[in-house]
């Protein structure tokens, strides 16, 4: 089966993946913690802005889970990882063209490596989420629910989903010039089409049905569940799992099919 042989090739080269991820992180954190600060600062500032806009200016009576700031922080951090995965994987083959051309490695590796490196960055920001959670727990505004143990599952799903879509984006961007622009626009729309600022149950029933087709919606549901009441929309989560598997499968087929053409262009 096509996905299995690709997985084997990646596992055989996990040493190389590790080297590349380490290099990415070294370049990013070259000698200082400033890299980490940037990763954290962006979503934190955005969370602050949205908090002001929705609770102070619009005076929304309820905006997603409460406390709303924790709702924003959890959503924005995870979304940032996913969004960066999309922009970076779409460039994955082009930006490393010289390496791709000179080393005979499974080409999927270039996609996986980007998602992994961004994933490590994301995991390094988890203490910030933890700090806010502890703060809100001490002030009695929230308490952890057992579903927090499902949080790693949501991270694995984000990883697999990103690899799946990345395997479509990376080769297509090589062959179609304006793909990078398309990705940017779709991401901006996707941000609002994903319950980052709001929660899915606030949407009218029709839109809730539409949200079932957005895998990030279900993944976010799973990710946030433990921080808030521990409820989750099982339908939305299962839909996300199914979509992730489908996209992973489609991605590996598209990648294999486009690979020869990509190598000629690169």
């Amino acid at each position: 089966m096509i996905g299995v042989s690709q997985f084997r090739g990646l596992m055989a080269n996990r040493q190389v993946v590790r080297t590349l991820v380490e290099r990415d992180l070294r370049v990013r954190y070259a000698g200082s913690v400033l890299g980490w600060v940037w990763t954290v600062l962006d979503p934190l500032l955005m969370a602050l802005i949205y908090l002001v806009v929705f609770t102070v200016i619009f005076q929304a009576r309820r905006g997603g889970h409460q406390p709303y700031f924790l709702h924003l922080v959890t959503g924005l951090f995870l979304w940032q990882w996913f969004a960066q995965n999309m922009t970076e994987t779409s460039r994955a083959l082009l930006s490393e063209a010289r390496l791709v051309r000179s080393a005979n490695l499974p080409r999927e590796l270039w996609v996986v490596r980007v998602v992994l490196a961004k994933g490590v960055e994301f995991v390094l920001t988890l203490p910030v989420i933890a700090a806010f959670t502890i703060f809100y727990m001490i002030t009695g505004q929230t308490k952890l629910h057992w579903t927090i143990v499902l949080l790693p599952v949501s991270l694995v799903l984000t990883f697999l989903l990103s690899v799946g879509i990345g395997m479509i984006l990376a080769p297509v961007t090589v062959l179609v010039n304006d793909m990078a622009r398309v990705v940017r626009i779709v991401l901006r729309l996707g941000f609002y089409a994903t319950p980052v600022l709001y929660s899915a149950d606030m949407a009218p029933p029709v839109l809730q049905k539409l949200l079932l087709f957005n895998p990030m919606s279900g993944i976010l549901e799973l990710f946030r569940s433990g921080f808030f009441k521990g409820e989750m929309n099982i339908l939305s989560v299962s839909s996300a799992i199914v979509l992730t598997v489908i996209l992973l499968f489609v991605g590996s087929i598209v990648f294999k099919r486009l690979e020869p053409a990509v190598l000629k262009e690169i």
């Binding site: 080269n13 040493q15 190389v16 080297t19 590349l20 290099r23 070294r26 370049v27 010289r98 390496l99 791709v100 051309r101 000179s102 080393a103 005979n104 490695l105 297509v172 062959l175 179609v176 010039n177 598209v254 099919r257 486009l258 690979e259 020869p260 053409a261 190598l263 000629k264 262009e265």
Partner: protein, 251 residues
């Protein structure tokens, strides 16, 4: 009989004549039916040959005859549209030597990265690190912790050559890289190539230099406009290539 190290069967690869890409999203997802009559040409077609272990093969042909493309497909960094090129064992590609190197990292980091990309573990690189630096020469040795882009292009190539030839892989592909480096280093390169050959490595060499070809290769392959024109002892193949070139020049 032992299986050939390099096995090429009915190899063909097709390129677009224009740079314009005609791929549409619909075409990619569905099959490539109804694709617009875009002009393509076969850079290589119906190429078949075997190379046995320890053989040294020189590839001859004019510009644009598909030599480098063939080498890339043997190296596995380009995929054929027809047939296959199978290599038993890993390949040390002396093609685009500094391709795996990054300007912003130090030379030391680059050696670890590039060797890692070619499948060496950290321990293996540790063991061979000194050998690589020694070969690259004293000027390089002094600057191993300097950003790679601060090296002169000649020095960059030296490190890359030293690295790839130290990989100790059974098949060595060479694309015109012997022309680089100063005279002293070139002699060192020649020596190392000869050592590799006598050590039982399989060599596949692309060159326009008759001198290099005769020095290293025993067998020649002659490519002309994407076809394999002849396959025989290197002297005969070079003679045929020269005769064709002269005939072209005369007409």
């Amino acid at each position: 009989m032992a299986k050939p190290v390099i096995e090429v069967r009915n190899l063909g690869i097709e390129f677009y004549r224009s740079r314009r890409r005609r791929m549409s999203l619909r075409e990619m997802v569905l099959k490539r039916q109804n694709s617009a009559p875009s002009e393509t040409f076969w850079a290589l077609r119906n190429i078949s040959f075997d190379v046995a272990r320890g053989e040294a093969v020189g590839l001859v042909g004019g510009n644009g005859s598909g030599k480098s493309t063939l080498l890339r497909m043997i190296a596995g960094v380009m995929l054929p549209d027809e047939g296959h090129a199978k290599v038993r064992g890993r390949v040390a590609p002396l093609i685009e030597l500094t391709g795996g190197f990054l300007g912003e990292l130090t030379a030391r980091e680059n050696v670890y990265l590039a060797a890692g990309l070619h499948g060496l573990t950290k321990e293996q690189i540790d063991a061979r690190f000194d050998e690589i630096v020694d070969f690259a020469g004293p000027q390089v040795q002094a600057g191993m912790d300097m950003p790679f882009r601060h090296f002169s292009s000649g020095m960059q190539v030296r490190i890359a050559f030293a690295l790839i030839t130290t990989l100790d892989q059974p098949v060595v592909l060479v694309d015109e890289v012997l022309a680089v480096g100063d005279r002293a280093f070139r002699e060192k390169c020649y020596e190392r190539m000869e050592n590799m050959l006598s050590g039982g490595k399989t060599l596949f060499l692309v060159s326009h230099s008759e001198h290099d070809l005769r020095r290293f290769a025993e067998r020649g392959l002659y490519l002309a406009s994407g076809q394999l024109k002849s396959d025989g002892p290197i002297d005969e193949v070079i003679a045929q290539y020269n005769a064709d070139a002269d005939a072209d020049a005369a007409s």
